[in-house]
Symmetry: D3
Subunit: 320 residues, 6 copies
């Protein structure tokens, strides 16, 4: 019997004999009609997911094994028209194993180090000492954690470094528009608000062992990431002795960046920079949703209805 090693889930077809490292999730122990226990679960890598079964289950899997990497051997079959992976051997990956984590977990299509560098240099270009100091302090304390995180559970940028990619794209647009509307825009306030706006997600997301968003924390649901972030910035500004008006403006930027109460804004934008921030956020999140959806839609066709857009979208296939 010859096995294919670490074959991407998206490429597997019935009949394949597989061996390799995959993530196991949705683990449920059940009893067959014949009375013997079996496991129903799912295997996945960065690009795909498939139902899986362990028919001869001798125990050993637990609640906290969900989201962990396992070494598996098995065969791809079919059930009701969909492929299904029958696991014949299974063991948790351990420190001695050499597998490619990036092949298992979806990751932003960017060079994370360069992105952080670009973002930091934009912060350093701010002329206002208070805004710059607050941003640098936030980067020093929470940047590493923040930039590794996805930007969402599922809607957009739901991959490692998603918040970094999302924030950097927004910083670039903010920089451009601050120039175009230079008569009314305080560039430093706009850049600072843009950099900080999503830092509250650090406490809002409950992450899986591999860094993806599993769920929301009670704190995230009961207070919201806008409030969490604004309150942290208020404390940081006090600690750094920043100007009170500037601290207030930053808090306002963060509290209003969802634009309207229906979309979760605690207050509506009331200055040019907060108005602009809400559009920049909207543009980048929407464009990422389009990118992810168009990737699955053939030219000349409509996608399925996209939940977060409340509509289907068209891939005209032209000019790209």
């Amino acid at each position: 019997m010859t096995y294919e090693y670490d074959k991407p889930v998206a490429d597997m077809t019935p009949g394949d004999q597989i061996e390799g490292f995959y993530i196991l999730s949705d683990i449920q122990v059940r009893t067959s009609s014949a009375g013997s226990p079996y496991v129903s679960a799912r295997i996945s890598d960065a690009g795909g997911v498939m139902d899986a079964k362990i028919w001869n289950y001798a125990g050993g899997l637990e609640e906290e094994d969900n989201g962990r990497v396992f070494k598996l051997r098995g065969e791809v079959g079919q059930f009701k028209g969909s492929p299904q992976f029958s696991i014949q051997r299974i063991r948790p990956a351990d420190d001695g194993d050499h597998y490619d984590l990036e092949a298992l977990v979806p990751c932003a299509p960017i060079d994370a180090d360069k992105a952080e560098e670009e973002l930091r240099s934009m912060v350093l270009s701010m002329k206002d000492g208070d805004y710059r100091a607050i941003c640098l302090a936030m980067l020093d304390r929470c940047g590493k954690e923040f930039f590794a995180m996805p930007a969402a559970k599922s809607f957009h940028h739901a991959f490692l470094h998603g918040l970094l990619m999302h924030t950097l794209n927004m910083m670039r647009t903010a920089d451009f528009l601050a120039e175009l509307y230079g008569d009314i825009i305080d560039r430093d306030l706009l850049l600072a608000g843009t950099m900080l706006h999503d830092f509250g997600k650090r406490e809002e997301f409950a992450l899986s062992k591999l860094g993806l968003v599993n769920d929301y924390t009670p704190r995230g649901k009961l207070l919201g990431h806008l409030y969490i972030c604004a309150e942290q910035v208020a404390a940081l500004a006090r600690e750094l002795g920043a100007d009170g008006e500037k601290s207030m403006l930053l808090q306002h930027m963060i509290l209003s960046h969802h634009g309207t109460p229906e979309f979760g804004a605690a207050v509506v934008p009331q200055c040019a920079e907060s108005e602009l921030l809400s559009y920049i956020d909207l543009i980048d999140s929407r464009m990422e949703i389009y990118a992810e959806t168009l990737g699955d839609t053939p030219p000349g066709q409509f996608s399925a209805r996209v939940y977060s857009l409340d509509k289907a979208i068209y891939n005209h296939g032209g000019g790209r």
Copy 2:
């Protein structure tokens, strides 16, 4: 010439000769068609308001005289069917003057000292040390200022001690409902959230010299009194070393007490106590609007449309 002294504005009729202390507002210096300067303004006391003119104006009034108490002498005339006060003599009230401030400024129909005492004793009845400590610290630091304030600019309880009266009424209802729904309600959390919920109005309202709400502060508009209060409670809880979960629950109570985003809630109520708090607040503010409106509506008649209710209301006149 005999003058009536300190006659209530609501009782003045054309022909009256008046002397006494009144509040001056809406001061505008104009030029008559004959080219001479005159003053158009309004005089008021706790129960009424009337247009006023100083025809022979020799100067001396300034922007900041709006909302101050003046000693006036003059005569009540009539213009286009409405009474108008012609000021003949005017000087600012000074420290040597003895006038009745409560006759000039509308005030809650309660005994403020007893009300504070009752409210404080309800705080002391809390069994949870953290909630009690946070409430007591807030009372010590900001209670005096807070309890003197009106609860709104115009909609309801727009009089001195309005926040005290509103908060106490709500505490009584909270206490009753905490008992009725004792199976699911944490009485201490409900009482603490109720006592604290409007403290952010301290920084949201810009007060006149006599303590009424003149306007909203930029901080109040850009951040909202819910956020301001929650952030202050968070800082206070940290300072007092209170339990983190309890601090979070109090912040949630405050952030959600307007019930829905359309009415300004930063998050929706997600526990039984915050759900209840939003109804208790609604009931007391609505009942006060009814009380103020019914006072101006004869039995068997409808009021004019009440802006904050978006409807007219009926005074059936029965059973009271």
Copy 3:
């Protein structure tokens, strides 16, 4: 073979041998792939429900057997991870059987007799003869039937005596608030409107044999329980020679108690008592939904999304 007798459905596990009285519902006669008839149904008691099968079905069950009590013998198995009851013997319960109806049908956690007594004494405390007479006449004619009924099909108080428990809780709150807002509230009108407000549900609900709400009647859907109740009160008031204005006010209380047209109010509340009634109804129905949901939610966790609240709720577990 030893059987467990009348074991609660919620406690049954695969392998149990069971005998006892249960309610049968959702009865469907089907044909197996082998061509023989079998029955798919559900068994339930006051605390649980389970799928059931009669594999060797010799006939005898009919449409109207749904919702009836049967004596069953059988074994608990498992199908697709869920338990399933295989019925081996079955016969309808008859008059000679001694089973505990309260164990089979969910019932309000109150002493119904005491509750009725308390409610009646509140009615007797009304000073206004017209309101008191209308309430007493309604109690005499429809009270027995009404107080046995659930308050809803599924949202809240969906158990026997639900309307009694719901009405009594509301009467207590009405009594408290009538005192607190005594300046503007006609206590008798508020209590009378509260007592009467849901009596239209008598004609709106189609009950099962055991008294639970199976469905809505055509009359209930085409006219609504608000109209049905108001029209009945109008007729009763005429019959009793009550004052026309008071009858009109009671009809208004009933027609408006859902608060806004979106929630089914035929007119909006336009007097203080009808405004208050709509909040009292909201509070008691919401608190019961919280109570029922929190009972299924572990401390520190969120519930599943609650349909009638349009959100998930948090069990903080504190102070109770």
Copy 4:
């Protein structure tokens, strides 16, 4: 001095000397700057309205003179670019006066007797004895009063016999559509619901002495004309021993004829006839608003914004 007699208000121009019968309204007694009393009021006839003054007022007018017919003599002047009528002589019209009431009060452009006859013959054409009997009883008891009334205070058909014209137009359309959709429409139910649907306005409108709608009654506001009508039909049906299901359907037609809760329906239409009735009502009220608006709009122009339509409308001027 030569006077023009009973000149239409819409034709008066500054300089005219007028004598004749007009309606006086908005009567206010005021004091001039010289201290003498004068009257500010308005005069009107069926086609126009103008401000009026009695400069030498010797008393005698009272609150209840509003809306009465007076014999006036005076001159048309001008004030701030608008014409103004100076009353020199005035006395109430009395029984001996011969004036043309139809010239004073706006009236539907129909032959009221023929219209009633046509409507009654459509009722007599119903085959169902119950629906016919209920309609005939309503006509006998309330028809005379109802058919004289306007259909609204201002939106549409706000003239004498307005309800007759509106109801008859709707009956004609109902008859046509009952034929077109004969497969699913019960003609008798549709015609009966159409004839009865607005009878509740009898108790909703407070009429002036000349029969126009001055205001709404408390009963009209607190219960709504849909409820008032449905309840009256319920009582009538009981009295006549009509079939209960038919009575229920008629009540449903009436309660739902505003289509949706936002527009005041107590329940939504749930049978084909009630669905159709709501559209027939909409069509006739909208077409009358168009007719009244287009009459004031030159071809090729837009009207001012029409409040009840929430838009301006265009008079293309073609083909009529």
Copy 5:
């Protein structure tokens, strides 16, 4: 073995042996657990639909066979309580086959030729040469195709000649109302707008081989049938040298016939004819939905919730 020939799908019961012509759709080739290919599909005629299987599948079916007519032989079985057709022999219908297409495809219950004739005679009755010429040109170029089409994918008139039946019903009502409101309605404009209003559906619908609506075209989704129709009428009017104002009014009728932006109108109706057209369209589409729903609802019962009405409807069963 005796077969029943061309038995209607709605009449088939388990055990039937069937031969005849049916439409095949939803064709999916799958692999059984035993590894052999089989086909899962659906068979249908004008009145019913049923799941079908080809267990011994030797290949030959393709994507484009969906929606085609096949000659089938097989047996009706049962799976999970639902009937299932096992296909034993299958071949595409060819030119030599004689089957009744109307028995296979749902068709409007009208005489299409007479309907077209009536509609054309109404067009010829228009007095305005421009409107008449535009309508006749549209009929000549696109009438044949248009009148064969269904009016919708599923909501109403989803059968052959549906647009013809819908348009003719609306023309009749337009003609009646143009007479009733003759003072303000330009009959020719109303009739022309009515006749043309849905012609844009020709390019919006993607039809199956048998003429039913399979899906919407990208052009239909990206531009909408209102725009497509208005633009075609604009081009036609230019080509025919029609008056520019009349062309504009027709375009306005078409762009606004959905009444409000929420329902897809590009502009709101702003003249009497466009206002009326939107109601006439609403009435006919709603009445057809009622007719189709009531056909499946027993008297005295409510239907299931109808998606396009957002409510269930009642079959009172009376008077028809």
Copy 6:
């Protein structure tokens, strides 16, 4: 008597003697109480507006003089606290007069020639021949007229060359975002849609003699500028033989650029470029409203409520 010549209206104060060229509007001929005719009107220049009177009016002004330039001499007085201009001499400006039109009519703060050049060079940079050809043809035929026009009647860019400034700003942002989201954006489609999106305003606006937006045309109201533009592009594309799919995409861009039906979009954006266009339009119109509003708002203050934003905005005064 010394006159100040062409003094800006915004700088005039009571007592000034003025001579110069101003625009006259709102001309109304009235009769004084003394019976003599006078004129009430308004004078304006690019930066201000003031009430004006001609007390000794000898005739000569007509309806069409509204919005024309006149040479005036007069004195600034005061009425009810506001300045008022008494015109002593007046004559229309004629060809021999040398006045500064830009001082009289508000104009975009840009170099119009350079702006057109930049815009044209961006069009020339498109690689797709069809999109480029359509844009160039539109520029050639309508560009001169279009680029001179204001972008709105009052909301934003309500000055000469407003559409040019608005379109160019949007083109710059479109160019930047086409690069940032190059993976999914067809730059040519985005630029072409952006350049064309407001061309329908040419037929929607009724301009004054000096080129400002006086009103909307009937065609503009009955069809909307989105439809007008899309239909023109469709005709142009056909004439130029452009690819049908590209023409459809351009029409979709134009029809959807208001984003949602509530804001006037005929269809919702369904491809990445149309989604982006709607945000780019929103950003530029909003930023211009902010710029115009902040110009009138002192630092540290809130503006009055801005109608088109439905909120007041804050001038923090920082960093610019």
